[in-house]
């Protein structure tokens, strides 16, 4: 396996060789130019203000460390410290829970496996602000729980504290860990466990013996859960705020909420968020070295499932159901019921009434002109374009990420992508203003600021890093010899890719597309700062309802948007099933095994 990988990588060759080598490096240059325009320039424009505010007229100094000191003062520093330890706990917790879930779902006959897989995707697509909305609606006095006759007063206070923050953030990070660990498990043949059992290890000990084999997957999951949690805004802004538990992203937001905004301190905080993901990556790459993950080929067999006895099976199924209930069921229940309760949160002397009024109000154009219709349509259009653009770029980057394992270019790409995951959306959004509103660009090259294309670019930039890492795992599992076999048997480069790699990646591409599509619709921070005049996306519309005094209508809008996203997912999956050959769907891809 190692030799096969070694011999597909082609390090620097003497100049007498080749057009294809030149083509490869030209492709690399174009790729990095695209990444520069998409991510590096805007984020860099923001970050540089941390030490050089004068670059974008945000202060008199060309170089200063004042803002670095300010960021680590007790006021802002508390937020950074909180984020670091919460992210660490969440990462560890989510990887542990995800590993247990992945093991049960993929390696045992626990009940409801397909349901759990779908539920995990749903969890992945749900934004954290929706989750906290649901929890809040459920637990608040005269909330949804109380409407159902359950008194939640005792837990409400507890929830608005570090405990609730950790619960929601772990729920949000769970899917990332789950899919990465699942991919790792696919390469773990049953023979390792068998060998342990034969040599005297009980079920637990054999598990302990075997898990380190997927250590790279576990570390990768830890790294990405850490990065995603550090950059989360939804929880920090809602739960974190209400719990008086400041987190770095909230402090960043705070810094730029005053006028004049303190972009420089915000830049330092953002830099800390980005840099904080480097230790996990270094740890991960040290363990992974040059290991190949190419396991998916015609020889891949579905791993043997352990048949649990009835009792243990029931226990396992209940445990899995419990996890999903807490992570997903509760917030959805809270939001749905909350949207149906008349005057949620208000004590009513006449008891609880359920109503559909708030749904009726959604599509009524209010005097403000903000019904949900146009914004939702716009958001769907954005989602379509952004998901497609992101998919193309992500595939190219994913291939770069898995080629030449251990090389410096692969490591740079890896750090760059994970660091970009840690960039909060608001930083990207404001950075886009700084860079694309620069005089010489907007007057001499192209004026994109305050246009829909710029918003789309920013949303693509926001989605690409996450989706690339998401795709890299499954793409790396495709055995290189499959493409070689096609070439050798007469297929040109494109046909070889189209007939061998594409079918094997089709599921990954589809789910990646859906992921970005839903993420785009739910995205708030970038949308809010970059949407063109009179073209308000749905997430912004919903927030203004939630923040003003029509929270019930806002909740109803949220629920409706959620179901609309689900409908699109359902349609996409049905179309995929109809359009693709049976063979395409046979190929196991972690998390969506047929």
């Amino acid at each position: 396996m190692a030799i096969a990988v070694l011999e597909t990588t082609t390090p620097a060759a003497p100049p007498s060789t080749t057009r294809s080598k030149k083509r490869g490096s030209l492709g690399g240059v174009i790729l990095w130019i695209v990444l520069f325009l998409l991510i590096i320039a805007p984020v860099g424009s923001f970050l540089i203000l941390g030490v050089s505010p004068r670059v974008f007229q945000q202060g008199p100094q060309w170089f200063t460390l004042t803002y670095v000191r300010q960021a680590f003062s007790s006021y802002f520093g508390q937020g950074i410290f909180n984020s670091l330890w919460v992210s660490t706990i969440v990462a560890i917790l989510s990887v542990c829970v995800a590993t247990a879930l992945a093991w049960l779902i993929h390696r045992t006959n626990v009940g409801g496996r397909r349901l759990w897989t779908v539920a995990m995707w749903l969890l992945l697509m749900m934004p954290t602000w929706m989750m906290t909305l649901g929890w809040g609606d459920l637990l608040q006095p005269f909330g949804a729980a109380q409407a159902l006759g359950v008194n939640t007063h005792w837990i409400y206070g507890e929830f608005f504290g570090p405990m609730g923050i950790v619960i929601v953030l772990t729920s949000a990070a769970l899917p990332f860990a789950y899919f990465i660990v699942s991919a790792g498990l696919q390469g773990l043949g049953p023979e390792f466990e068998d060998a342990a059992r034969i040599h005297g290890a009980g079920p637990i000990r054999s598990l302990q013996t075997v898990l380190p084999i997927i250590a790279p997957a576990l570390l990768s999951a830890l790294a990405i859960c850490f990065a995603e949690t550090m950059s989360d805004f939804g929880v920090a802004f809602t739960l974190g705020y209400h719990s008086h538990f400041p987190m770095a992203t909230y402090m960043l937001f705070n810094a730029i909420s005053s006028f004049p905004a303190n972009f420089s301190v915000a830049a330092v905080i953002a830099a800390v968020l980005i840099i904080s993901v480097i230790p996990p990556i270094v740890l991960q790459s040290r363990v992974m070295r040059k290991r190949s993950y190419a396991v998916l080929s015609g020889r891949t067999r579905a791993p043997r499932r352990r048949e649990l006895a009835r009792g243990p099976r029931a226990v396992a199924t209940t445990a899995v159901a419990g996890v999903f209930f807490v992570a997903l069921g509760v917030p959805i229940l809270g939001a749905v019921i909350g949207s149906l309760v008349k005057n949620l949160g208000i004590e009513s002397p006449n008891g609880v009434h359920f109503t559909l009024t708030y749904y009726a109000q959604i599509f009524k154009p209010s005097i403000q002109g903000d019904s949900l219709g146009a914004p939702l349509l716009l958001s769907n259009q954005l989602g379509l374009v952004v998901a497609t653009g992101t998919g193309v770029l992500a595939i190219i980057l994913a291939r770069r990420l898995i080629a030449n394992p251990g090389s410096w270019s692969q490591r740079v790409t890896d750090v760059f992508l994970l660091g970009s995951v840690a960039v909060p959306g608001v930083v990207l959004g404001v950075g886009y203003i700084f860079f694309y509103n620069l005089g010489f660009i907007s007057h001499n090259v192209v004026s994109l600021y305050k246009t829909l294309p710029l918003l789309m670019l920013a949303l693509v930039a926001n989605a690409v890093p996450g989706q690339t890492r998401f795709m890299a795992g499954p793409v790396s599992q495709i055995q290189p010899s499959l493409g070689d076999a096609a070439r050798v048997h007469g297929a040109g480069r494109m046909r070889a890719w189209r007939t061998t790699n594409l079918p094997l990646m089709s599921r990954v591409l589809l789910w990646g597309w859906l992921l970005t599509f839903t993420k785009t619709i739910a995205e708030l921070a970038i949308s809010q700062i970059l949407y063109p005049p009179s073209q308000e996306p749905a997430s912004v519309s919903i927030q203004s309802y939630l923040a003003n005094f029509a929270p019930n209508t806002g909740t109803a809008m949220t629920v409706l948007t959620l179901f609309e996203m689900l409908a699109v997912i359902g349609i996409a999956l049905s179309v995929y099933r109809l359009v693709t050959p049976r063979g395409w769907r046979r190929v196991g891809f972690s998390g969506v095994q047929s």
Binding site: G298, S481, D484, A485, V488, W584
Partner: protein, 373 residues
């Protein structure tokens, strides 16, 4: 000349080199393969045989040198013909069957760019599946097949396009022993029937001997010896070739003198310097201290009362069905393995060990220079 014979193409490799960073995987290898020849490249891991094969296939790009297929330069100077235009086929070690295509579609893949009609393609597929004995599996998918069945599919796929050159990348190494033998015969028969030139790589010397018209032995990126299997076996060019093609044992010996052309008398380091006659690969000087390599086939066992031979005792015996393989200790810590006898000598039994000159080679073991011709 029949049509199948006309199909075969020759392959010419000149000074092929390939570097992976600091490591030189191929070091100026030159080979000429006549059309219709079954060439086996034999060597241990890291010897460069896979690199060479992938270079011919076009999957990897050599650092320097030229490759011609059927008289056309495919690699050389600024020229690089991509794999799909080289008109060849390949059977991979891991089968490389596309998991999303069933058996029929896997086999039909090379026919997609052919000028055959749909019916002809279908017929051709049926023929091939029948020929390799898997027509009952045509609708199955690769992960539903055993290793042997998968490799048959890969073989059928390679034969589908009726090309003049078929490459084999250790196709039997992932199979169980019994399947391996079956499939080896299939490969040998079908490739010759198809009239194609074959380049086959393996690290298994018995496989190489069974299949090859010509064997090229590679080590550390260099071609050590290119010859018929018989010559490789009987006249290994270097100690490495001798070792790699199967020896019962090797000992340091003292050369007493040349007895005739390519023969010398040497004294063994055991049995009080018992002298035997051995074959030589080149001129050697009397009094030299060299190394003796002994093929198992050149050793016979006899009762202790036998006149000739050195004394030994049986350390181990293994039943082989048609006879017995013995491990014989000959004293002073030296032993010989895989010594065949149709009758069984028991463990601990004393025997006489006789050496056949043709199967014993004396050479300088530091002589690992590249073959020069």
């Amino acid at each position: 000349m029949s049509e199948t014979a006309r199909r075969a193409v020759g392959v010419s490799v000149r000074d092929l080199a390939k570097d992976f960073g600091e490591k030189r995987a191929l070091d100026g290898v030159s080979i000429d393969v006549e059309p219709g020849t079954f060439l086996v490249l034999l060597g241990p891991s890291g010897s460069g045989k896979t690199t060479l094969l992938r270079g011919v296939a076009g999957i990897d790009r050599p650092s320097s040198g030229t490759i011609s297929i059927g008289g056309n330069v495919v690699v050389g100077g600024k020229t690089f013909v991509p794999p799909e235009r080289r008109r060849l086929a390949m059977v991979f070690q891991d089968y490389a069957l596309w998991p999303h295509l069933n058996v029929r579609k896997n086999v039909a893949y090379p026919l997609a760019t052919s000028s055959l009609t749909k019916e002809d393609r279908s017929r051709r597929c049926d023929d091939l599946l029948e020929r390799v004995g898997i027509s009952h599996l045509s609708e199955r998918f690769p992960n539903e097949l055993s290793g042997g069945e998968q490799q048959r599919v890969a073989l059928a796929r390679a034969l589908a396009a009726e090309v003049g050159l078929i490459l084999f990348d250790e196709p039997l190494s992932n199979l169980d022993a019994d399947r391996r033998e079956q499939l080896r015969i299939e490969i040998a028969t079908l490739t010759r029937e198809a009239g194609a030139t074959a380049i086959y790589i393996t690290h298994d010397q018995s496989e190489a001997f069974a299949l090859a018209d010509q064997i090229g032995v590679l080590n550390q990126g260099q071609l050590i010896q290119l010859d018929t299997p018989e010559n490789i076996y009987r006249q290994p060019a270097t100690a490495f070739v001798a070792r790699f093609t199967g020896i019962a044992g090797e000992f340091p010996v003292h050369v007493l003198g040349e007895t005739s052309k390519r023969r010398a008398e040497v004294s063994l380091p055991f049995s009080s310097g018992y002298a035997i006659e051995a074959s030589t690969m080149e001129k050697i000087a009397p009094g030299a201290d060299l190394r003796l390599f002994v093929r198992a086939a050149g050793v016979t066992l006899a009762e202790p009362s036998h006149d000739e031979g050195v004394c030994g005792s049986i350390r181990d015996v293994a039943f082989k069905g048609h006879g017995y393989d013995h491990v014989v200790d000959v004293g002073d810590g030296y032993s010989l393995t895989k010594i065949y006898s149709s009758t069984k000598f028991e463990r601990g039994q004393n025997v006489k060990v006789c050496f056949d000159t043709k199967s014993c080679f004396v050479m300088d073991s530091s002589r690992e220079a590249k073959a020069t011709w």
